[in-house]
C-alpha cells in the first residue's frame, strides 16, 4: 500500500522540479504581468509568457521532440517556415504603401535604419564572442520586426529564438521610451521644426503595380527573402486590388490572429531553463537594446546626410521611423516633431520610411541567410 502511494507520488511533477524550472515560471509570469497590466505587446507577450511556463512543467513533455503538442506547433509552424510568412501575409494586407510611393526617396531611410542591425552584428561577433549565426540573430532584433527575428533565428540559431523574440517584442513595446532621447540628442530644435513639403498624389495603378514589381526586384536580388516578401506582397496585392475583400479581411484579421496564437505559444516554449539561464542571455538583451538605439541613430544621421544634397529639406526625425515597429516608430516621430512645433504633422510622412523599414529588415535577414547558411 505504502509502495503504491510512493510510486504514484513519484509520477507527479513535484519530484522532478528543478530550481531552473521554477525560475522560468517567474520569467513567464513577469511577461504575463507586463502584457496584462502594462499592455506591452500583449498579443505576443501573453502567449509567449504562458508558453514559457508550459515548457517548464516537469514530465508534461509538451516540447518532447516528435510527441509534445507545443513541439509540433514549433516544428511544423516555425521550423517549416509556415507561421512567420502567414503573419507577413496579414501585415501586407494591412500596409498602405501610399506614403512611401508619395515620397520614394524616403526608402533610403528605411534602408539606413538597418545599419544598426549590421553594427550590432559586428559588435556581438567581434567584441563579445558570439558566433556568426548567433550574432546575426541578435543584430536583427534592431530591425524591430518580430516575425523576421523569429524566422531568422529558427534558421540560424534556434536555441536563441525565444530570447531574441522576447527581446524584440519587449523593446518594440518600449520604442516610445528608447527612441526620443536618441532622436533629440542627434537633432537641433531647428531641424525638428522642419516641415515637410507635401508629397505628390499617388495613383491607384502605382499602388497596384508596387507589390508585383517589388516582388520581382527583391526576390531576384535576395532570393532568401522570398518566403516573407512573397507573402507580404500577395497580402498587399489583395488589399490594393479591391476585388477580393473577403481575402483581404481574412488575411488582416482572422488568419493573422490564428497565426499569432500559433506563433506565441511555441516561441515561449523554446525557453527552457538550460537555454535561458546562461550569462549570454544578459548580453542578448543588452545588444538588442543597443541595436534599437543604433538603428534609430543611423536612420537620423542618414537623413541629415541626405539633407546636404537636397533642396527640399526633410525632417531628420523621419530617419528614426526606419526602425520598422509599425506604426509605433512613426507615431514617436510625429510626437517628437510636435513637441518642437505644434503644427508639424509628420505622421504620414513617417509611415513611408516605416513601411520601407519592414522590407529593409526582411532583406537584411535574407542577406544574413545567404551569407551564413
Amino acid at each position: 500500500m505504502f509502495d503504491a502511494i510512493q510510486s504514484l507520488s513519484a509520477t507527479t511533477g513535484f519530484w522532478n522540479l528543478t530550481p531552473g524550472m521554477v525560475f522560468m515560471w517567474a520569467v513567464g509570469l513577469v511577461l504575463i504581468y507586463l502584457a496584462i497590466s502594462k499592455q506591452y505587446e500583449p498579443l505576443l507577450l501573453l502567449p509567449i509568457g504562458f508558453g514559457i511556463i508550459l515548457a517548464n512543467l516537469p514530465l508534461a513533455g509538451l516540447m518532447e521532440p516528435g510527441e509534445g503538442l507545443l513541439w509540433k506547433f514549433y516544428e511544423y509552424g516555425i521550423q517549416w517556415e509556415v507561421i512567420p510568412p502567414l503573419i507577413f501575409l496579414g501585415l501586407g494586407a494591412l500596409t498602405d504603401f501610399g506614403p512611401l510611393l508619395a515620397m520614394p526617396s524616403l526608402i533610403f531611410l528605411g534602408a539606413a535604419a538597418q545599419g544598426g542591425v549590421y553594427l550590432t552584428f559586428f559588435i556581438a561577433n567581434s567584441l563579445l564572442g558570439f558566433d556568426l549565426m548567433e550574432s546575426a540573430t541578435i543584430g536583427i532584433i534592431g530591425g524591430a520586426d518580430g516575425p523576421t527575428t523569429i524566422f531568422l533565428a529558427s534558421k540560424l540559431a534556434p536555441h536563441m529564438l525565444g530570447i531574441c523574440a522576447v527581446a524584440a517584442y519587449s523593446y518594440m513595446a518600449l520604442v516610445p521610451i528608447i527612441q526620443p532621447p536618441v532622436m533629440k540628442a542627434l537633432t537641433s530644435e531647428k531641424e525638428r521644426r522642419i516641415r515637410m513639403k507635401k508629397g505628390r498624389k499617388v495613383k491607384r495603378l502605382e499602388k497596384l503595380l508596387f507589390p508585383i514589381i517589388a516582388t520581382f526586384v527583391i526576390v531576384l536580388i535576395v532570393p532568401a527573402s522570398a518566403p516573407l516578401i512573397s507573402m507580404f506582397m500577395v497580402g498587399n496585392l489583395f488589399r490594393e486590388s479591391n476585388v477580393v475583400e473577403r481575402l483581404t479581411k481574412t488575411s488582416q484579421e482572422e488568419l493573422l490572429n490564428i497565426a499569432t496564437i500559433f506563433l506565441g505559444l511555441p516561441v515561449g516554449a523554446t525557453m527552457n531553463a538550460e537555454n535561458f539561464l546562461q550569462w549570454k542571455v544578459i548580453f542578448v538583451f543588452v545588444l538588442g537594446l543597443c541595436a534599437f538605439i543604433l538603428s534609430t541613430a543611423v536612420g537620423v544621421c542618414i537623413a541629415k546626410v541626405m539633407n546636404l544634397f537636397r533642396k527640399n529639406k526633410i525632417n531628420p526625425l523621419l530617419g528614426a521611423a526606419g526602425v520598422s515597429a509599425v506604426p509605433m516608430a512613426a507615431r514617436v516621430v510625429h510626437k517628437v516633431g510636435q513637441e518642437a512645433d505644434k503644427k508639424n504633422y509628420l505622421l504620414m510622412y513617417a509611415m513611408g520610411p516605416n513601411v520601407a523599414g519592414v522590407i529593409g529588415t526582411v532583406i537584411a535577414a535574407g542577406i544574413f541567410l545567404t551569407l551564413l547558411q
Partner: protein
C-alpha cells in the same frame, strides 16, 4: 483676412472643439484627428472668429480637405 484650416492628413475627426461664430486664437486646439490609431490635435491657423465648419465629429476626411475657415 480669412484663412482655411486644412486636414494635415487623412483620418477621422473624433472631436471638434470650436463653434461657428466663436472667437479663436492662433494655436488653439480646433479639432482632434485620429489616424494610425493615434489622436492628433489640429491647431487654429490665425486669430479671428470661425465663420464655417465643414466637418462633424465622426467624419472621415482626406488630406487637404478644408476643415474650417477663420476670419
Amino acid at each position: 483676412m480669412s484663412e482655411e484650416l486644412l486636414a494635415p492628413m487623412a483620418g477621422k475627426i473624433v472631436q471638434v472643439n470650436v463653434k461657428v461664430g466663436g472667437s479663436v486664437k492662433e494655436d488653439d486646439e480646433a479639432m482632434v484627428i485620429e489616424a494610425m490609431k493615434m489622436k492628433t490635435p489640429i491647431y487654429i491657423p490665425c486669430d479671428g472668429s470661425v465663420v464655417r465648419i465643414n466637418v462633424n465629429e465622426g467624419d472621415d476626411v482626406e488630406e487637404d480637405d478644408v476643415l474650417l475657415i477663420v476670419e
